[in-house]
């Protein structure tokens, strides 16, 4: 669980996580937005189905993989949030065409 430090700086950005609307801040990465929203895990692995969440926040662990705007296995910590972005938990393996 994470909380924003006051004062609020930067503009609010609205995105959806698994269909639910959530507010982030400009310059957030998708990973930061997910953690701020209180999401427990951002993916389940394609090996065992175990839940994972961001670990390194710098693009080397590949645990923050999510589906963004219909494209799977994006590293959430390397993608800045954008208004209207659709983020989905990455459930298992990538799908063809998604």
């Amino acid at each position: 669980m994470f909380a924003r430090l006051p004062p609020e700086a930067g503009d609010a950005v609205t995105l959806s996580i698994d269909g639910k609307a959530c507010t982030a801040r400009t310059n957030d990465t998708v990973a930061a937005a997910l953690l701020a929203s209180g999401l427990d895990h951002c993916r389940t692995t394609g090996v065992s189905g175990a839940p994972r969440a961001p670990y390194c926040m710098m693009g080397v662990c590949f645990d923050c993989l999510v589906t963004i705007d219909g494209i799977g296995n994006r590293q959430a910590c390397l993608v800045p949030v954008r208004e209207g972005m659709r983020v989905e938990v990455q459930r298992g393996k990538r799908e063809l065409g998604r």
């Binding site: 930061a32 427990d40 969440a53 926040m57 645990d63």
Partner: protein, 469 residues
């Protein structure tokens, strides 16, 4: 897609931390056509992440060691070097052809000189349960703080050893965030080994910063020293951490557990390019073999910053300058000799005391070499026991281990398991990590799409080799 990417540059710098910024600034100021590729959205690397737009304007929270990076970024912005953000370099050949992915596509460019400043990453900390959601690195916590003003708000515990642990703790406290405890895994026997290095340390810049920081933290947070074992517990996310200080195991409830036991160079691009590395027993990691200007065994390719060996942000900057100076001169440009002299002097100053820190914070063996069901390869979910059992079958090293267990075959390409696997196999076989070696790495060192690769130029010979007609 490759809008504005020239076919070639005088100097290509990879990485926008202190080393990359200093190197690119030095080269651009000397008149070289310079490009800097940054995987991030804004310059600063990890240590100075979000320094141009952090929401934490009050300087005291992040501290002066962070804010001094501001001048580096400003100098870089003023230098005229071409800056390409959101650019992941996935390949570097001996001939200095660079494969880079940005704006949704891949492009190629050449440079007469390449300076790799891809920095470091956190040493893996393979404790039971380290893959549970809610367990993160201290660096991750810092990034969330710097970039997004986010602090862990439930029960938060830090565990591990090293200066970064104390720095994060201090930053959290100054931000009025609560910390349940710090589980300090600094091995007691390290003090004796660190003592011979104490004198240079006492005269180094680390003393003032470091000791004050620790005092500040210890006043306000419960610190449990001499922790000899750790387990992250929980079902689908972390809910507690169990630890020992020699006696019985105790537990602390946690919502977030931040781990840190030092940094290691991020070797993937360097190794895939063919740069020779050696095992450093003092820092327990692979470091490139470089001359005093950072030049590697590859003609025209140098490494600066923590990727050359862990030495901190200040040293990275000066190594960046030196590599930049060498690059400029190699191309036939001019740099004032005073600049080089100053950089060497400053570098020597910042290196003073590293020996002490390396010795004092040398991670304990059981935190580097796990046992049983502890996951070693996070990507492929391979456990310590599986690796040990495969060594018992006769598997001699990490590359054969890949074939047996898929260990190291995931997208992180061994960044989070490599040193663990090397040390685990070394321990199981009773030989040194140097003898065991490391994964053979090849491009792409970061994933790129099939389409990106497919769109790159192809020679007749290559086409013929595939279609055979």
């Amino acid at each position: 897609m490759s809008a504005g990417l020239a076919a070639s540059y005088d100097v290509a710098v990879i990485g926008a931390g202190p080393a990359g910024l200093a190197a690119a600034t030095t080269c651009a100021n000397a008149g070289c056509a310079t490009v800097l590729f940054d995987e991030g959205a804004m310059p600063g690397g990890q240590i100075y992440r979000s320094i141009e737009d952090t929401p934490l304007r009050e300087r005291s929270v992040l501290g002066e060691s962070y804010w001094r990076g501001r001048t580096l970024v400003e100098s870089f912005r003023a230098s005229g070097a071409r800056y390409i953000a959101g650019a992941t370099v996935w390949s570097l050949t001996r001939d200095r052809e660079i494969g880079v992915s940005f704006d949704g596509g891949s492009a190629l460019t050449y440079a007469k000189r390449v300076i790799l400043c891809t920095g470091a990453l956190e040493r893996p900390f393979p404790i039971p349960g380290w893959t549970l959601p809610g367990v993160m690195t201290v660096g991750a916590a810092q990034t969330l703080l710097k970039s997004s003003g986010l602090v862990a708000s439930g029960k938060t515990t830090l565990a591990g050893c090293g200066p970064l642990l104390w720095l994060l703790a201090a930053q959290y406290l100054r931000a009025h965030a609560k910390l349940e405890a710090i589980l300090d895994t600094t091995a007691r026997e390290n003090r004796a080994h660190a003592l011979p290095h104490a004198l240079p340390f006492l005269f180094s810049s680390y003393v003032a910063d470091g000791i004050a920081l620790m005092r500040e933290v210890k006043r306000q947070v419960r610190v449990i020293s001499g922790v000899t074992s750790l387990r992250a517990l929980g079902d689908r996310k972390v809910s507690a951490v169990a630890y020992r200080t020699g006696g019985e195991e105790k537990t602390l409830e946690v919502d977030n557990l931040f781990l840190h036991q030092g940094l290691i160079p991020n070797v993937n691009l360097a190794m895939a390019a063919g740069i020779a590395h050696r095992w450093d027993e003092a820092q327990l990691c692979w470091v490139p073999e470089l001359d005093r200007d950072g030049n590697s065994n590859l003609e025209g390719v140098a490494i600066a910053g923590d990727g050359a060996g862990i030495a901190g942000g200040e040293a990275a900057r000066w190594r960046g300058v030196l590599a930049g100076v060498a690059a400029v001169r190699a191309i036939g440009g001019n740099v004032a000799s005073g600049d080089e002299q100053r950089a060497r002097k400053e570098l020597a100053r910042t290196l003073r005391g590293r020996g002490f820190l390396d010795a004092l914070y040398r991670p304990a063996r059981n935190f580097r070499i796990p046992e049983g069901d502890t996951i070693v390869c996070r990507c492929e979910e391979v456990t310590a026991h599986e690796i040990s059992a495969t060594v018992a079958l006769g598997c001699p090293g990490p590359n054969q281990m890949k074939a047996f267990l898929r260990c190291g075959m995931g997208p992180c390409q061994g960044r989070l398991c490599g040193v663990t696997v090397t040390e685990l196999i070394a321990a199981a076989r009773g030989v040194s990590p140097r003898e065991i070696g490391y994964y053979r790495l090849r491009p792409p060192v970061k994933p790129i799409t099939v389409a990106e690769l497919a769109a790159l130029p192809k020679s007749e010979a290559a086409i013929k080799a595939v279609t055979r007609s």
